[in-house]
Every structure is written in structure tokens, then in C-alpha cells.
Symmetry: C2
Subunit: 721 residues, 2 copies
């Protein structure tokens, strides 16, 4: 992944001193990410080395409503003496990028990967068009400026292949100010010509100018009002978690809402980590939130999977399988995980996609999507499973040699998560194909194939360890030696950077929720007693060297009544980036973990599940949270759920009457009044332990306040995705 | 691996035409590898494009007795008219090498990897000293010439950094001849200085000149007389196999006899394949022959392992284990197999080394070696096993997550071959340590550690599949789906070049003898019935995409009475290189497969085993071989075994009386007379089948004679190591 032309740059010269907080004196500095208005505000009061004091304030937005547009309002005002200011507003391509660390997850830096095709500047406008050196993607960036300043204000422009610069010079008296509104338009295409690209960004810029700065702000606010109205989570008793979950929702919205049939990468678009690639994170950890808050974006994300079906079919053929095998990591549909059997064998991704499809359809009843997109995804993934597994002489349908979610095991037989998700995939494909016989027939599905899927689902082998009374993560997992946690030092985590994979693979040590995730997504396949037993068994083995774990552990901890533990896991998920718990937020944020903060609250403490077309609730709060209220979007309705320590009330905010479940009992909800029910008590066992030093960081520790903000506190050894 | 300075080059100009068989006309051409004299003879009668006919004959040797020396005798004689000939005799460094194919096993080509330090030529002498660019190894080559020609013969010399050339010009009448004897000396060192290297090769050259051409020939012959006297195999009824096994013995001798504490690479020094690396091939497939024919070389090869113990200990520590973990592939002791858990986990190599140690000690009673070298190798490998495995709650000692010999499975639990070999390793270490208490104590071994090895050996878990009545290759192997051989086309072999490893790993498909090899090396752990049953089960699953398979299959086929099948496997092993069965002999010969030809004959049809310090025999011939006679070196004795269809005679050629076993019965052998015993009949089941198209190539097909020689016949699809 390479950086596009940078249009954020606005440099300031105060008299003959560049504005640079490392010199002179910062009198005041505040940076606010305004989640309600969707803007980033920065105000600085700075005294230059020669003693000139100025106020500088900027407001930045990337528009939710005009997909090509970003804008900046920039103001300078001298406080104590006249100054001459120069504002340089730029577009810069092939900017020098700081050298990355050695972490293999950090992403690859390609210097000067853009080649210029057009550069121009005139008046207050500038434009750059480049294409990428190898893949030939064309990218255009244009800018225009509205300038308010004293009459002497002077504007000039410069342009070269990689830099376009508009220079605004103004003498300012104290009380006078210079205000520059910069409109930025971006466009890219692998198809369109240079003139078409030129026109595309110019047109986008025209619409932004027409809308105006205030208009963009108003659109942004209106868009977010709708979002918060549909998806907000309110918390009483814990302002830190409250702020963290809204921060998380905002970032997931930014990453997902305007993806429009492009993938949602593991880091969103916030950094170069993982080279911009998309993994199973999207379907399994991000889409559950999206499906129940802004479901149109789930449809888009899955339409992208549908768009790369041909490549997935090709990959399945390459692997000697039928149907489609989606790439373990990719940016445009082709497998990018290299020659590594452990990733090739992580086939569960395909069932994860199928699961996201059925959840979306259950949540929206979007029949057009089901018919056009969903069915084909289900059919092709079911075909994969049917050709990956086989029925042995004892009538068990086995899936051998796969890698499950836990990346500290590889190439195992009958990973329970994989088998349960494949079972769901096969059943869903059979049932959906039956409901759309014509479309199914066009996809080559006949009754025999449908029956074979149903048959495989029914015969799916789920191992069980009678001796321990637990579900093994895979056929032989519980027969392996337990990792020697006692001699593992804190500096040796994440383990994969300090021990050979051979060693991790042959031991009972778990990187990330695997069977625990199966108990979340396929909760119907386990009794409550078995869930508690399994959770107690796997907690002491799970090191969470992945950010894809804490939220799931929170959900199951809450379900089995380990509410304090769930609360700590929630904290870890929610503060992953705000407190930089993994010391790598510079590579980009962890979208899955941020979505996980919502999941831990709504699916954990809210007890929300979506199964068999019905929403069910089993809420229960930890003592620190006195009230949890959240909205959900479901089948063209908006619901509000309000949970206290002892009771919960359900209210339909919009839409037709709806039946939901509360601890198994059906409730009818209408818009006339809320329905309130008591929360039954639960008898939980002793709090399970984690490997030494690997208990979740306690919320009380994370939330040491520093003026109400949470910056990169050092919370112990590095952890990893 | 890079090429040293090439001293073989002798170019000829006949009048103004370079001698080149692609031009002019070849009247006669013969090239003979003389196994008895240890020389390569070439005679050509060639008519140049302008019609001059000359006889050219050369004899080449690489001395067995003078390790630094090679020599060439080169003669030219005109037949029909006077000619002027020019012979250019060269030393060439950084010679351009043909581009290799895409086979990953082919080896890496590094152009111009030698840097010149000294070049000189004077009179008939020339010398080049270079060092390798990165590793700084110094290599010197020197030559001198003895010239016999007419009085007008003129000699001049030229030298430059990469080429030294002695040019001999002579006018020849028909009947006159020019004879040039070229003496070549090589030396290398990572330590010695340039002047020391200069002196080293000069001194070697002096000794060669002193010995003279005839002297070198005589030494060579004497050396080989001893070898053939100790190790020859005589066959009646099958001249092809007779020639092939002698070819094999000669090549193994070349690769191993003067290794002198350097490793024996998989290709010997015959080509760039596998980058000159050494694998488990040496200990498991080459040393059995060496131990019973020229045992001093086994001691040298194992002393090399001993010399790299520090690196192996370091590797074990890196893997979090105790003792020593030898590198899966290496050229100087460091692991070179890269980041690939499947190779890292191929720990069986360590037990293979231990097995070679105990076999050598049993065969030689070399107590000095045992005390100085053997014990430490056994101790450090036993420590590895004790830290790799663990005793579970049921008292089973398990070794999880390893890769056995079969590279179409990886990271499996309780690979039976590995566990049985580790068991032997642990017991041998415990017993040997007990016999050398002081040395053991100096190595840190106490009674508790010895007991722990013995305990682990006793508790070693060997899985068994009750349902099928066979020994599974590993814990779960027989539960996997059987590879779809019916739909696999001949072009799809070797499978690893056409299917993803994921797919191979999760199926019942075997690249090379694994459990079958266990039944050879640990035959004591199986009953005859179980061997027959296992062999019948694994044959239809084994595709032999490795050259490390046919010989082992021959041995077990012979043991279970499948004599015709054994004969075909023998043919495949013996003709691997002579008939270029894998189409890659240009990358170098397959030393292990060549040694396998001997193994198939001596251990297969001869039924030789070495266990508990005693040689045992259970010979039985296929109908094509009417008589098999072989010599063995054993405990300072030389034995001769002479097998016919119905009886076998044993005779001690030298040394003190010896007790051996014939089909379980003890026989006392003395030098006075042979002991003859009948061969009992065996009741074999039906001939096992192989995967379609993967039956061994029938000998009758391989041995289509072409003037008595066997050159690269196309015998079907490519196969692989």
C-alpha cells in the first residue's frame, strides 16, 4: 500500500520563523476529535523564537457525504504585534516516509512509487495527476482555496511534478486574521484516462465549492446525527469506556461506511500496517457491528467479496478444490499471503464470510442481496467445504489439515471452530438454494448437491475429550504438552517473535480465541455448562498475542457470568489504540479490536445474539457499569435497549412491531411503550486464570487519567495482533 | 556452492581448426570410466573441417592417495598428413556456468564469486590463488606439465587474474605424437595466508611430479584393489545390475573415502544440486555401505558431526531445547533450510546420526571413537529427545509436532519412525554413558539423567491402528482421506511441484519410505506378520517422489518375500543416475540412491542386519539373480557371503573367528572353510500394488541395451528427490 498525494499540508511562516512547536514556546495546544461533528479541531497559541505570539486554529474534515472531498479551515491571528505571515498550502506526491520498524506486520515501504502525468497551478487552484509505477493505478488530487485576509493579501502558485504549492502572504495587525479554507478533491481509477481523471477531480472540487465550508460541516453533522441515532452506546458509571466505545464506533464508521464494494482493511485506511490488506477480521469482527448499525455497508463489503469470486474460484482450483477459496490476505482479490501452508490452510475465512452473509440477511431481510449476492457466496463456499472434508468409514465428516483462528496451531485435523462454521455454511447454502430454486439452478446446484451439503453438515465431526470433559480445539490439541508458562518471561511475548513456530505448534498454547470464538458464533452448539467448562479450560492457555481475542473472551466471559473478567477484556479491546497497548498504533489502528469494544458491550454485557432470524438478549452488567443503553438497527426498525443492574427495558424507536427474546422468553415490542424485564441471577464459578502476566490489563490501570486523555502509556511488554 | 578454479581444460587446435566435435567429423569416440584403475579414458578419432584426421586420447584421474592432486595425460597424433597442433592447458576461475533450470533443488548460481589474489605462469607452470567474495575462503590451484613432442615443440605461458594458460605448439608428422601430462594441485583454507596457500599447492605439485604419472596410476590401482577386495558385490544372471552396483560403489567411494571430517553432500561433489548441502541422506543411506566396506570414512563423517556440535547445541537452544539439534541442511554446520517449520521439525535427523554412531561402533568396536566422539553425540542427541518429548498423564512418552522422513506429511504427532529412532537413541546414550562413567560425568551426565533416558525409551508411545491392524505412520495418518490417485495424471508427479503442500499434508499419500524405513532400521520392533501387513498397506500410498525411497522399499519387499518387487526397486535405485530416471543428473548424482543399490542387494537380497553387535543374514534371491556374492568389512575381519537360489555360504577371508546369525541360528566362522546353509522357503502374499503409474520401472525396460551403455533414456514423467 502506498500513500496517495498528501493534501493535508499547510505550512506557516510567522515573520521569518517557520511555525514549529519544537522551537519557540507553545502557550496552549489542544487537539479535539469531534465525534458528533466529524471534524478534527486544533488550536495553538504559539510564541515564535523572536517573540511574536499568534493563535492558529484549524478544522479538518474528510467528508462522509462527498466521497472525494476533504477540507481544511485554517486561521492565523497575531496577538501582540504586527506580523507578516506566509501560508504554504500544498499537494505533495512521493513524500518521504519514516523508516518502518522491523515488525513484519508493519508493511512495506516503496519509495517514489508515483509517476507524474500532469501538474498545474493557477490562482488559488492546483492539481496533480500521477499513476503508480507498477500497477498503473491513476490518482488525481486537486485543491482550491477561499481566502479571507487584509486587502494586501497576495497569492502566488508554484508547481513541479511532485509538488503543487499555493502561497498566501499577508501582513496582519493584532486583531486581524488570515483565514484559508482549502478544498481538496481526490480521484483514482485503474481504467479512466488522464483527461477523465482531471475532469473527475475538478468536478468533485466544484461541488465542494458549491456546497461551501459551512455546507460541508452541516452535511457531516447530519450524517453523523443519523449514525449516532442508530448506533450509539451509552454508558453510566464509566466515562472512559463511554469515550472509548464512541471513538471506536466513529473509526469503524470511517473505515466502513463509504467502502462501496471495496474491502475494509485490517487497519482501515489509517496506516501502512499489513500493507493495507484485508483478512477475516472484517467479516468476523467488524461486520457484526456494521450489520446492526449501518447495514448498507455490510452489503457493500460482501458485494466486494462477491466481486472477487472469480479469483476465489481460481484459487480453489489451484488448490484442487471446488467452489471458491477466498484469499487469506489480499488487497484486490489475489492471495497475498505467500507460500506458507499454515495460511493456505486457514480455510475458515470462507465460512466466516458465509456467516456474515447469513447474519446480514437475518438482520435486514434484504432479499435482493440474498438472491443476487448471498446465495452465490453461500453456494461457492459450501462447495469448497464439501471438497475439503470427507466422510470416513464411520460416517464422520472430517476436515483435516486446516489452520483455525488460533495461529499458534497449524495444519490440524477437525478444528472445532472450522467444523462448526463449515457446518453452518453447508446448511445455510442448502436452505438458501432451496428457497431460490431458479437462481440455484443457474449456479448449477441440483437437489443432489443440496442434499450432499445437508448430509455433510449433519455428519460433521466435532471431537470431544471425554477424559477432560472439554471440547478440544482440534482432534489432538488436548493431548499436547502444555506450554511452559512459568519459565516464559514477559519480554518473550508476543511468543511468535521469540519462539520457533515448530515449538508453538506442538504445545497447548493459544494465540487468540478459537474454541471460545466458536462458542460465541455457534453458541447453539454448546450447553451453558459446557461453555463454562471450556472457558475455564482455555483461559489459562490463551496468551492473547493477537488483538483479535480480548473482545471474544469478553463476550464469553460475560455469558458464563465472569463479569469482572469480561470488563477487563472490554477495557483491553477498547483501549488497544487509545492507550497504544500493542505499541504499534503508528502502523494504523486495529479496526477489529475497536469494533470489538462494541461487541464486548453489546454482545457481551448486552447479551445480544442473532440466530434463527430473531434477536435475543441476555444482558448482565459488571458492577462498574451502572447503566448500558444501546440502539440497534434491525429489519428497518430501530431498537433501544436500556440495561441496569437488575432489569432491562426494550423499546422500539421506529418500524413495525417486533418479537425478540429475553433470556429465552419471547417479547413483543411495539412503538407505544417500553417492555421491562428483570435480569435473572447467575451462579458463576471461580474467576479463571490466565497465563502468568497475561491477565488483561485492569481497566483501573488503563484509565489513569492524564487531563482526561489517554496517550500511549507504557503498559508492559509489547503484544501483537 | 561455487565452482573452484577449473584445471580440467585442455583445448586443442589442429592447424587452424579448434577441435570441436560439433564441426568436422567424428570417426570414433569412446569414453570409459575405469572402475578398477580409477581413471576416465577418452579416445577420439576426428577429421577436421579441412580434412585433417587426428587421434586424440586422454586419461584423467583424481587421486585417491594424494588428496590435492588430479592429473591428465593428453595425446595427439595425426593420421594422414602433417599438422601443426596447439594445446592450450588452462586454469580458469569464475568460469561462466550454464543457467540452471527452475527446479528449486537445482542450486543457486553466483557469478564471479572468486576474487584473484595471485596469478602467475612461468615455463610449464601456472598458479592462481583466489578467495571467495563473501565467506573469504582461500583457494589455490597450480599446474605443471611434462611434455613429450618433436624437437620443435614450443612452450609459452600467459596469465591474468582469472586465467592461466600454458600453450604448447608442435608440428607433427603422421606417426609423431605430442603427449602432455598435466599435474594439477588444489588447496583451500579459511585460515591460511596467501603465501602459505601458494606453498601448499606448490608442495603438493612437487610430490605429484616426484610420484610421476605412472606412479599416480599405480597408487590409484593399489587403493582400488584394496577397496574392491573389501567391498565388491558380484552378481550372476544380471550384468546390468552388476555394472550399476559397481558404478555406485565407485561413486560412493569417491564421495566419501577422503572426506576427512568434511561432510558428504547429497550430490557428493558431482554437481551444484542442493547447493552442496548435506542432509540426513548421509547417515541413513550412505553410511550403512561405508561402515561395512571402508569404515574409516564413517568415522570421519561422524567426526564432522562432532565438529559442528557447538552449532547444533546453539540451534537446540534457539529452539528452546536441550542437547544438540543438527541442521536439516548445511554445508558448514549452520542451519540452511530457512524459515520453514516443516524442516525445523524434522528432528529425526538427530536420531539418524545416533544410529549411524552405534552401527559404526558395533561394526568396528572402535572404542577410541566411542569414547571421544560417539558418546558425546549420543548424549547430546538424547538430551534433545528428552526435551522434545513429554510423558503424558497416561505414562506415554509422546513426541508431538514433528516431521518424519515422509515430506508429504508435516508437523505430526508421534511419527513412528521418529519415535522408534529416538527410543534407540535414548537407550544407546544411557547404555554408553554407563560404560564410560568418567567421560559421561565430564559431559554432565549423572545417574538420574541416564535413568530419565532409559525411562523415556521404555515409555515411548508407538501408536497402532486397531481397526486396520496396521501401524499408522503417525497418530492420525490412517484417519486421513486417501489421496485421489485415480485422477492424478502422470504429468502431475512429482506431486510437490503440482499440488499445494496443504493438500498433500492432509491426505494419505507418501513421498518416501517412512514407516517402511522404520521397519528396516528398527526391524526388532515389528513381527514378521506386522511387517508384511504394514508393507501391504503402505505400498499403494507411496509415490516415490524422492530418490530416498526405492532402496528401502527393496529391502522390506525382500524381507517380506516380495522378491520380484524388490528386484524392480533395486533397479530403480541402481539406475537413478545411469538412466537419469529423474531427469536431473546434470545437477549431480544421487549418492544416497547409489548407495541404495548396494543396500538393496546386500541388506535386501543378502538380508544383512547389524543388531546387538552381531551380523545376521537372511538372504533370498529373485529369480533374475542366480548368484549374489559380496564382501563385508566387520571388526577387522573381511567376510565373503555367497548366495545362490537355495543355499548360502559364509567364509571369513581375514581376521579372528566370528559368530554370525543365519536366519536366527548362530554360526561360527573361521578362516579354514566356508559354512554353507540352506535358504528356508517363504510364503509371501500377493504382490502389493503401487499408486497407478507409480510402480517401479521394470528392470527389463530400464536395461534396453544401447551398445552396452545406458544413457538418459526417457523413462516417463519426471520424478524427484
Amino acid at each position: 500500500m502506498i500513500n496517495v498525494t498528501n493534501g493535508k499540508i499547510m505550512r506557516l511562516l510567522v515573520d521569518d520563523e517557520p511555525f514549529d512547536v519544537r522551537y519557540g514556546q507553545v502557550q496552549r495546544h489542544e487537539r479535539v476529535l469531534d465525534l458528533r461533528n466529524g471534524v478534527l479541531r486544533r488550536t495553538v497559541c504559539w510564541t515564535s523564537p523572536v517573540g511574536r505570539t499568534v493563535n492558529i486554529s484549524s478544522v479538518r474534515l474528510v467528508s462522509f457525504t462527498q466521497r472525494a472531498i476533504a477540507a481544511i479551515s485554517y486561521e492565523v491571528e497575531p496577538l501582540d504585534a504586527p506580523v507578516r505571515v506566509v501560508v504554504q498550502s500544498e499537494l505533495v506526491a512521493n513524500e518521504t516516509i519514516p523508516v518502518m520498524g522491523k515488525d513484519p506486520r508493519g508493511g512495506t515501504v516503496l519509495p517514489s512509487s508515483l509517476e507524474c502525468e500532469e501538474h498545474q497551478a493557477q490562482g488559488t487552484c492546483g492539481l496533480l495527476i500521477h499513476h503508480t509505477r507498477f500497477s498503473g493505478l491513476r490518482v488525481g488530487a486537486a485543491m482550491d482555496h477561499q481566502i479571507e485576509g487584509p486587502p494586501e493579501t497576495f497569492v502566488e502558485s508554484q508547481h513541479s511534478p511532485d509538488v503543487v504549492r499555493i502561497v498566501i502572504t499577508a501582513p496582519l495587525q493584532p486583531g486581524q486574521r488570515l483565514r484559508v479554507v482549502k478544498f481538496l478533491a481526490y480521484g483514482w481509477s485503474s481504467q479512466r484516462s488522464r483527461p477523465a481523471m482531471h475532469d473527475q477531480v475538478s468536478a468533485a472540487l466544484s461541488l465542494a465549492r458549491f456546497t461551501g465550508w459551512e455546507g460541508l460541516l452541516a452535511e457531516q453533522r447530519a450524517y453523523l446525527d443519523t449514525f449516532w441515532g442508530h448506533g450509539d452506546v451509552e454508558i453510566e458509571g464509566d466515562p472512559h469506556i463511554q469515550q472509548a466505545v464512541r471513538f471506536a464506533l466513529f473509526h469503524v464508521l470511517q473505515a466502513g461506511c463509504r467502502g462501496e464494494q471495496r474491502p475494509i482493511p485490517a487497519k482501515g485506511l489509517t496506516g501502512p500496517g499489513y500493507d493495507g490488506h484485508t483478512f477475516w477480521d472484517t467479516e468476523t469482527f467488524v461486520l457484526p457491528l456494521v450489520t446492526l448499525t449501518f447495514p448498507h455497508a455490510t452489503a457493500d463489503a460482501l458485494r466486494w467479496r462477491h466481486a472477487i469470486l472469480d479469483q476465489a474460484r481460481e484459487r480453489a482450483r489451484l488448490l484442487g478444490r471446488r467452489g471458491a477459496a477466498f484469499p487469506w490476505r489480499t488487497i484486490h482479490g489475489k492471495e497475498s499471503s505467500g507460500y506458507w501452508p499454515a495460511s493456505t490452510a486457514a480455510f475458515h475465512l470462507n465460512a466466516d464470510i458465509a456467516y456474515a452473509v447469513t447474519q446480514y440477511i437475518e438482520a435486514t431481510e434484504d432479499r435482493a442481496f440474498e438472491e443476487e449476492v448471498g446465495l452465490e457466496l453461500l453456494v461457492e463456499t459450501a462447495r469448497l467445504w464439501n471438497s475439503l472434508g470427507y466422510e470416513n468409514a464411520d460416517g464422520q465428516f472430517r476436515i483435516d489439515g486446516v489452520t483455525g483462528p488460533d495461529e499458534y496451531s497449524a495444519l490440524v485435523d477437525n478444528n472445532v471452530y472450522t467444523n462448526l462454521m463449515a457446518q453452518h455454511n453447508l446448511s445455510a447454502a442448502a436452505e438458501t438454494a432451496k428457497r431460490y430454486p431458479e437462481v440455484a439452478s443457474a449456479l448449477g446446484v441440483d437437489a443432489a448437491e443440496r442434499d450432499s451439503w445437508q448430509h455433510a453438515a449433519e455428519r460433521m465431526f466435532i471431537p470431544y475429550d471425554q477424559r477432560l470433559g472439554v471440547t478440544p480445539q482440534d482432534d489432538t490439541f488436548t493431548q499436547h504438552k502444555v506450554w511452559n508458562f512459568a519459565t516464559t518471561t514477559p519480554e518473550q511475548y508476543p511468543l511468535f517473535r521469540n519462539f520457533p513456530y515448530y515449538d508453538l505448534y506442538c504445545k497447548q498454547v493459544i494465540k487468540q480465541a478459537d474454541l471460545i470464538l466458536a462458542m460465541h458464533l455457534r453458541g447453539d452448539a454448546f450447553t451453558p455448562e459446557q461453555k463454562a467448562r471450556n472457558f475455564a479450560y482455555y483461559e489459562p492457555l490463551t496468551v492473547r498475542d493477537s488483538s483479535l481475542s480480548a473482545a471474544t473472551q469478553a463476550v464469553i466471559a460475560a455469558e458464563v457470568g465472569q463479569l469482572q473478567l469480561a470488563y477487563d477484556y472490554l477495557g483491553e479491546a477498547a483501549f488497544m489504540d487509545l492507550s497504544d497497548l500493542e505499541h504499534n498504533v503508528r502502523d494504523g489502528i486495529h479496526i477489529a479490536s475497536l469494533a470489538g469494544a462494541w461487541t464486548a458491550l453489546v454482545m457481551g454485557f448486552g447479551g445480544v445474539r442473532l440466530q434463527g432470524g430473531m434477536l435475543s438478549f441476555a444482558p448482565r452488567l459488571p458492577e462498574q457499569i451502572t447503566r448500558l443503553a444501546f440502539q440497534l438497527v434491525f429489519r428497518n426498525r430501530c431498537l433501544r435497549v436500556d440495561v441496569c443492574a437488575n432489569e432491562v427495558s426494550y423499546r422500539l424507536l421506529s418500524g413495525a412491531p417486533l418479537t425478540v427474546r429475553h433470556y429465552g422468553d419471547e417479547l413483543s415490542l411495539t412503538r407505544t411503550s417500553a417492555v421491562t424485564r428483570p435480569i435473572p441471577p447467575i451462579q458463576a464459578g471461580p474467576r479463571p486464570t490466565q497465563p502468568p502476566g497475561r491477565a488483561p490489563v485492569a481497566m483501573s490501570f488503563i484509565c489513569t487519567e492524564a487531563g482526561g486523555r489517554y496517550f500511549g502509556q507504557n503498559l508492559g511488554p509489547k503484544k501483537a495482533r
